[in-house]
Amino acid sequence: MHRPLLIAAALALTGAALTFAGTALAQTKSAADGIAEYRRMLEDGNPAELFEAKGEDLWKQKRGPKNATLQACDLGKGPGVVKGAFVELPRYFADTQKVQDLESRLVSCMATLQGFNAAEIAATPFGRGEQNNVTALATWVAGESRGQRFNLPQGHEQERKSYEIGKRVFFFRGGPMDFSCASCHSVDGQRIRLQDLPNLTKNPGDGVGFAAWPAYRVSNGQMWSMQLRLNDCFRQQRLPYPGFGSDVTVSLSTYMGVNAKGAQSIAPGLKR
């Protein structure tokens, strides 16, 4: 897993790749082609690997007030089962009596097993303190389902309700520009500038949309989880700030995840 040399090479290539993407743009080549090209260049060295390695360490480390590991954490397939868990989230958890996505579930485990304060973590800005650890853990857990196909359970009433609430959130228009998620993500083949927009009302394809996050963002050098991805969508919609792990962000994930049934996960992905 640890390939520092390759990753260093990949980071060096990133600059070249961006230049390449710029050239592609000038030649009116699709932005997607440029991005696909530099994804190939980075194939064996997505910087997300660093976060995966950190996440795996965090999972096994004794931490928090209870000095415990997360190895008994139930991500939906039984305590300690990590492989295949990501492609079935969000799902209903009987202990919390809530539908939870990967990150809100990880925070629950950090609270119950390790004694961390869940509310405090939820209120911590992205990229700081324990939020960084949640992102790394989510990156590792997601990577353990790489190549698997999304298949969110919808057997429980709360799971079906989460889908229905998520659908309504997806189409909710508000703010000074009247945007909803659907403004940009409900029609095939549209773009903003040169950026292709996945249609998230259905399965948009393998490794696209919901199946691409968490992802390392080359443009700002940050690892972005789905919670942060959605947070930034709402920022660009000009809406106020959605709470971390709120019913809005979790139900939206349920909506996109159920729609993406059968899509292959490439997470952790690589984005511009």
Partner: protein, 211 residues
């Protein structure tokens, strides 16, 4: 399912497959979840989730009824503020800058004043032929004035298209209840002068749009 006997209902509940609330109840629950989830951040205040008629009418995968759509459009048309002193036009060069500028109104912006905002036009529209980085959510606006036979923008024959374009930028719902386009004037995103610059970009025969 809703009228099931209590026994059947409790059996279903035990199996975790009880009937969902009605569609209207889910609508209400979604609004409750939205109100609970969002908070103020910078200039993006919580009142931004309070929907007006048009926003609420266009918040599902189904179009509103004709009656509701007509009401939304009539309200929008009645609210269009025409430019002070009939100043419909400015400078297409300034319009191009505004069209390129996609900034403003997010919680990482510091002011809601129109001066801090762009028109974000290229995000969704092709406009001039020189700019190849354009979005496709809206129709192409290349040759917008030329295609509509606008030569002299001050000519009386151009007046209907001039007024239509102003109203469309001011409040896109004036002509399409669920238009995807922001209501730049109505929402205070752009001021009269900025809209006049965009008018010139679209309609001035000298603008690159009409070359």
């Amino acid at each position: 399912m809703k009228n099931s006997t209590p026994l059947i209902a409790s059996l279903l509940l035990a199996a975790g497959c009880a009937a969902l609330p009605s569609s209207q109840d889910l609508d209400r629950e979604a609004l409750v979840a939205i109100k609970a989830a969002f908070r103020d951040e910078g200039i993006a205040k919580i009142n931004r989730i309070q929907q007006d008629l048009g926003q609420a009418a266009c918040s599902s995968d189904k179009q509103p009824t004709d009656a509701v759509a007509d009401q939304v459009m009539a309200q929008a048309r009645a609210g269009v503020k025409w430019p002070t002193g009939g100043q419909y036009f400015g400078d297409w060069r300034e319009g191009e800058k505004l069209a390129q500028n996609g900034r403003g109104m997010t919680w990482t912006d510091s002011s809601t004043a129109p001066a801090a905002n762009g028109g974000s036009c290229y995000n969704c529209h092709q406009i001039s032929k020189q700019e190849i980085s354009f979005g496709t959510i809206g129709p192409s606006l290349y040759n917008y004035g030329k295609n509509r036979g606008v030569g002299d923008v001050m000519a009386p024959t151009a007046q209907p298209i001039v007024e239509y374009t102003w109203a469309k930028i001011y409040n896109s719902k004036a002509y399409s209840a669920c238009s995807n386009m922001p209501r730049f004037g109505h929402a205070g995103v752009l001021d009269e002068k900025q809209m006049a610059h965009l008018m010139s970009l679209l309609l001035d025969p000298k603008s690159p749009v009409n070359q």
